[in-house]
């Protein structure tokens, strides 16, 4: 019986058409495309075997998905059409620079949710996200963003933060507001794969990241701009009482990663960029050669899963944030500590912990306004008033 993955990460191609200085991909020059054999194997051995009421999210990711031709996606979606459960959602994480009307048409036809990587204001973004011949990419990414917005597709944005932006939260907020962005995910420069060193390494930046988040929240709140910072919203939902879903990064096969050549892994797509003597390259099989549920019976998988579970147990025993994260991110534990069984990482401190601390600080700063405006609870208004 195949476990029901919540997340399926598919790599159309390892190739990326730009060269960010903090990229974790070691093979981003590889222009191979996922073959029809692999696409069909994903269909037959994964999608078709899910229960019909499953609601997995399929993410096209890593390298740059728009480096694969539109016709490649038309072919892939066509092959998946009758196999994917009706509740399957598709999304794509893109650098945005190649997005034009033809891509927008594809996203519409396939109901694919799109998110663009933009590292905030132009000077921060262009410091690190540049073309292969060193040219800046911010203007091209924003052009793609605008096209998506004009088409009504409401793209989200992922921003990777670096230490040099942490005391400039106002500039980031101004950027989001000026570009009508209300759905933002803030990530950090991580040590992973080919990115051997993060700008955050060597100094504790947790307080600075927390301050950055609080400042962005304050600016948005005071100016009535409904900015949803995903990490903060996730914390708010859990602290308000919504049980956290299991941590798909630490639960075997809750996330399934299929590389362009059919290699299969789990826990995290970034894990396929790592290797270790005892775990190999964290690839547990190839979808062309075997069945996914068999990959969970290999010795190397058992070793990886056991060490990941030990790390989750150690987190549970020692960390006040455990209920909010479910045991951290094994790939970050391995990348930073060279141990899947490690506990707290810099990634934990600067993402989960900083988000929780920022929300608590933000809420703790609330006082009854001096000029009180009666506030009705907008969450509980009759459904007829709610627009979708």
């Amino acid at each position: 019986m195949l476990a029901e993955p919540r997340l399926i990460v598919l790599q159309p191609t390892p190739y990326c058409n730009i060269a960010c200085s903090y990229c974790y991909l070691g093979n981003r020059d590889d222009k191979r495309l996922m073959s029809n054999d692999v696409i069909d194997a994903v269909r037959d051995k994964l999608l078709a075997r899910l229960s019909r009421d499953a609601t997995p999210m399929v993410v096209w990711h890593a390298g740059e998905p728009t480096a694969a031709p539109i016709r490649w996606y038309e072919n892939a979606y066509g092959r998946f059409a009758d196999a994917a459960p009706a509740g399957t959602t598709f999304s794509m994480q893109s650098n945005g620079i190649g997005i034009d009307g033809r891509w927008i048409d594809l996203f519409r036809r396939t109901n694919t949710k799109i998110s663009i990587s933009i590292d905030g204001p132009e000077h921060f973004h262009d410091r690190r996200r540049r073309t292969r011949n060193g040219k800046p990419t911010w203007a091209m990414a924003v052009r793609g963003l605008r096209r998506l917005q004009r088409a009504g597709l409401e793209p989200g944005v992922i921003t990777v933060l670096h230490p040099d932006g942490l005391d400039r939260a106002g500039e980031y907020f101004d950027f989001y507001r000026a570009h009508d962005l209300t759905d933002v995910s803030l990530s950090i420069d991580e040590v992973e794969g080919a990115n051997r060193e993060s700008g955050f390494s060597g100094r504790d930046h947790k307080a600075a990241v927390t301050r950055f988040l609080v400042t962005v929240l304050e600016l948005a709140y005071r100016s009535d701009y409904p900015l949803r910072v995903r990490g903060i919203e996730r914390m708010a939902q859990m602290l308000a009482g919504t049980p956290a879903p299991s941590n798909e990064l630490a639960v075997p096969w809750a996330a399934i990663v299929v590389a362009a050549d059919g290699r299969v892994s789990t826990f995290s797509p970034e894990l396929t960029e790592a290797s270790a003597a005892e775990y190999g390259d964290f690839v547990f099989g190839n979808i062309l050669d075997g069945e996914i549920d068999q990959f969970g019976h290999t010795d190397v998988f058992r070793r990886v899963a056991a060490r990941v579970a030990a790390g989750v147990a150690a987190c549970k025993a020692t960390c006040r944030y455990f209920e909010l994260c479910g045991g951290g991110s094994p790939v970050n534990k391995f990348s930073e500590k060279h141990d899947l069984g490690a506990t707290e990482t810099e990634y934990c401190r600067l993402t989960t912990q900083a988000s929780a601390d920022a929300l608590i600080a933000f809420l703790s700063q609330r006082r009854r306004p001096t000029a009180v405006v009666p506030v009705e609870n907008p969450l509980l208004q009759p459904q007829s008033r709610i627009a979708s």
């Binding site: 409904p226 009482g241 509980l380």
Partner: protein, 81 residues
């Protein structure tokens, strides 16, 4: 369209009118448990006249269920309805 009201802001609005101190959350030895802000969400629901007196756990579930679809088109989301 300005998007949905962030839950963090709904909690903040409630904290302003409910005078919640959230003191426990600042104790570094206190585990941050799911639902630790339930006093705030209880206050949020208690203040609402339309709520049909259901248990807090149920209303929190409703919050999670309905929250993503609750959009506010007003420029001032604190007054949206």
């Amino acid at each position: 369209m300005r998007g949905a009201l962030p839950l963090a802001f709904a909690l903040a609005m409630t904290a302003e009118v409910a005078h919640e101190t959230l003191a426990d959350l600042h104790n570094p030895t206190t585990p941050l448990r799911v639902g630790i802000l339930s006093s705030l969400t209880d206050a949020m629901f208690a203040a609402d006249k339309n709520l049909p007196g259901e248990p807090a756990a149920t209303t929190r579930e409703r919050l999670a269920q309905f929250y993503p679809n609750r959009n506010c088109f007003s420029n001032n989301f604190q007054n949206c309805k």
